[in-house]
Amino acid sequence: MNVVLRHNMRIPAIALILAFIASISPLMVIAPKPVLGAEPMLEQFGIGEPPPPPEGVHKTVSKTARRAASSVLPISFDRIFEEMLPDSFIEVSAQKIAPADVDALYISFEQTPEILSENIEMGKKSMPMLPEPVEGIPQPKNLPPSYTTSIVKHSPGIKPPPVVDLGEGYVPVPTPPTIELEEEADAWVSGAVHHADGIYGGSFSHSCCSRASYVPPPVELSNNELREKAVVNNLRHRPETSATYRRYSGMVPELPPAVDLRQPEEDVWAVYDNDSVSGELEMTAAVKAAEMAVCNDQGIANENLPEFPQSLSGTVSETAANTVNEPASSHVKTAVGTAMDHTVAASVPAVATVAATSPQPKPAVNTGGTSFIVPERVPVLIILIVFCACIWHAVSKARRGEALFIRKISGLSALEDAVGRATEMGRGVLYIPGIADMDDIQTIAGVTIMGHVAKTAAEYETPFYNPMARSFVMSVAQEVVKQAYLEKGKMDAYRPDRITYLTDDQFGFVSGVAGLMTREKPAACFYFGTFYAESLILAETGNSVGAIQVSGTAEASQIPFFVAACDYTLIGEELYAASAYFSKNPREIGTLKGQDLMKVLIIFSIIFATIVVTLKEGQFIASPGFVNFAERFMHYLK
């Protein structure tokens, strides 16, 4: 090996060999497998035996089901299938005939035992205990730290639930409005419900399988049989879903009608999840807590899950979702899923079911109806006006001819020296304006600096290489560099083929640039713009070919890498100052000065806020007026 490979070639060679081995390994996987290799897994779920569909039943338009499902789920079905699902899962069923109108959607999530056990272990490790056990509430060992949920003891019935303060980190739940009996009854979504999606957020959905099908609309209400054809009851009567449900979700074969769940002796835990991943799925669930530790005699039981690991069978709660804010007559979209329940039992995780109603998505920002201005954005507008005033003031001073000082920025001053060095060495200059597109302000700043570097390179007739990660930036860069060569009267030295697009792919681009560096060995490398993980690879490769390197980015996470590997680094705002620094244009220098003025204001605000908060939190000034002022000030500052 020593004979064949030079010392500095060993690591690339080993990497190449490893890459080759890794490359060919999937071929074995990709090779055609025996028919339906996933069957054992499906059987394990009890869902791997889709009966031959009877004649004439496949009339559902699956696209509609998918669309409806996507509107409820945080992520689209397509994404689930393309990215998240193991190959052994069931298909989106959407096979059954729906009635002409669809007003509810059923989605179930099913997990492989492997995923389930992995999640349980993960949950056990990462989720802290509640500060103090609350009487009557099962100790939720497994709430993740970021999960701010309130658990409210809710006596079923018409009375609003009392709020139990669980201490710091658990937000009290606003009391739901009292609603009329019929409305409440109608709002109960008949089904097994739990808040597992709230616990797991997106990861739950991501790691689970989905299935969508239509559910007929509810029939008229009657005294004791509410929504008898509602979500779950219908699902239960379907051959292929009922088996899955009974086995996995703990659904009882004959779920009591919603009104039964409101019997006084049965406690219901209301769990309100405000931590929806997408903002669309707002789950409001009520969990029936009675008999939590005991399997329902009609529902899930260990004997019904012979292939299911005993340790995972756990307990099952019988639950129901309460869509208190849904009008009785509205068509309720309902998502139903299965997941582990880490809160119903302290030590034994359970398989529970999620049913969540999805109210109308709320807009991300309160636009204030048809008001003249969005109220939440007034502070931003004020800051913008102050900022513009600062800039206008400084620009006016500059135009009046007042001398405005700009400190020396070493990185920018070194640009010309670096190009000069490359010229002396007879090698080229490499310039990368980041990997973002032209809609990124850092890229524009990078292209601006590129113009100045190109002029110097044109003047010295130094080869100027510009590999690009975005084709839009490439066309802009070609124009800028061409103009630079034109201004210097060196159009004959302009080589558009050196300003080339490589690829949009981050690491594909890095390898392309690394190859270019290794072949052309530029004596100066410049990186100005938006960079992510590739920053260090680029800078280290440039260092390995002996180039002098100047970089600049406003990405705070990448600045340390550039500082470590480059000779000069423009930190944050310095990147944007380049244009004014080079041009000495009074208007541009004025904008820099205005920016500095704004910075001074911010510094004073920080000092003032620190004093105010210290006085408030330390209760040095306890007058209500001051406390109110401090809170409002901090609110606006945030």
Binding site: V35, T367, V374, I441, V447, Q483, G572, T591, I602
Partner: protein, 337 residues
């Protein structure tokens, strides 16, 4: 010419930028023109950028073709690039779309059926085709009542036969129908034919199978691994960059080295052991908990410095945006700013 290259872009930038600022602050209803502009203009950007992909691809192909044609030094790399480019493009384009027309799928024909994960194929025989009930579909659309549904309903050709599902029987290598074991109502196991209803896009011919497998081999077998390899190199580069950065050349670099050492040590279990040893030092020992010091370094000095950088960068970005909007900065259009 100057008007098109300079004045017009500046004018468009100013008008569009001002509109977007007004729309951002405006409290008008979502249906108002100003809010519609706010939601529509970003899509224009996406469309323009999609077209530039063609430009980039052409540029890449032409430059490398020219290099191969002129046999410039290192033109072998260009050949590899061109082969990879076209192989991936062809396989990618046809892998998903190379399907058998529904009218050509015959009952009794033997095809390949893509499994649900999209990874492998199984040999199947078509045993039946189910068609959509267009009457029910139309009724549903009419009942939905929204303009899009009504439009779709009006466009439905009721005489057409639209395939919904295709029933297939899975075959083994000897073309015999595969069996599977199911349980009946009484829990007894029995063997039945393996039949499934699938969508027509999962039924492929031999070309579809070839394209699909080629694409998967290229993507999963080559591209994904090459990508992972490049990313993995980062670990080595971090080591070499750290080695250079932490060399003690001055008081500042000594401080940097010390901080880095504490943070690195604080992230590994050994920190607890070291802290226990340090605790034995009288008086100051109790203050020398490595993990606490690490947390403090990250939460205060490091976080404060990062916040300062972010505030500066944000202000810089606002200034730059304003300069572009007002036409003060125009270097990106070519020429002096």
């Amino acid at each position: 010419m100057l008007f098109i290259k300079r004045t017009l872009p500046l004018f468009v930038t100013f008008v569009v930028g001002t509109l977007m600022i007004i729309a951002f602050f405006s409290g008008a209803s979502p249906d108002s023109p100003i809010k519609r502009i706010e939601s529509t203009l970003p899509r224009w950007t996406q469309i323009v950028m999609a077209f530039t992909m063609v430009l980039g691809s052409l540029n890449l192909v032409l430059i490398n073709l020219r290099k191969v044609n002129r046999k410039v030094p290192g033109y072998g790399y260009s050949i590899v690039l061109l082969v990879g480019f076209f192989a991936m493009a062809i396989a990618g384009l046809f892998a998903g779309s190379w399907r058998i027309a529904e009218k050509n799928i015959k009952v009794g024909g033997v095809y390949r059926c893509l499994d649900q994960s999209g990874r492998s194929f199984s040999k199947v025989m078509v045993i039946g085709i189910d068609y959509l009930d267009l009457e029910a579909e139309k009724a549903a659309l009419l009942k939905a009542g929204d303009p899009a549904s009504l439009e779709t309903a009006a466009g439905l050709d009721m005489n057409a036969k639209v395939v919904d599902r295709i029933r297939v029987a899975y075959l083994d290598k000897d073309d015999k129908v595969l069996k599977r074991t199911v349980k009946d109502e009484k829990g007894r196991e029995k063997e039945v034919d393996y039949i499934e209803a699938v969508t027509s896009d999962r039924i492929k011919g031999i070309c579809g199978v070839l394209m699909h497998d080629s694409q998967r081999i290229l993507y999963k077998g080559v591209f994904a691994n090459a990508q992972a390899t490049m990313f993995s190199l980062l670990a080595f580069f971090v080591a070499s960059a750290s080695f250079r950065a932490f060399r003690i050349k001055s008081k500042e670099s000594a401080l940097l080295m010390l901080s880095a050492f504490i943070v690195m040590l604080g992230n590994i279990p050994l920190a607890n052991t070291v802290s226990m040893w340090l605790m034995k030092i009288p008086v100051i020992g109790k203050f020398l908990d490595i993990v606490t010091i690490k947390e403090w370094l990250l939460a205060y000095p490091s976080s404060a410095a990062q916040t300062a950088i972010i505030i500066g960068a944000t202000l810089g970005s606002m200034t730059a945006s304003l300069k572009i909007l007002l036409g003060i900065e125009r270097s990106h259009l070519g020429g002096e700013g």
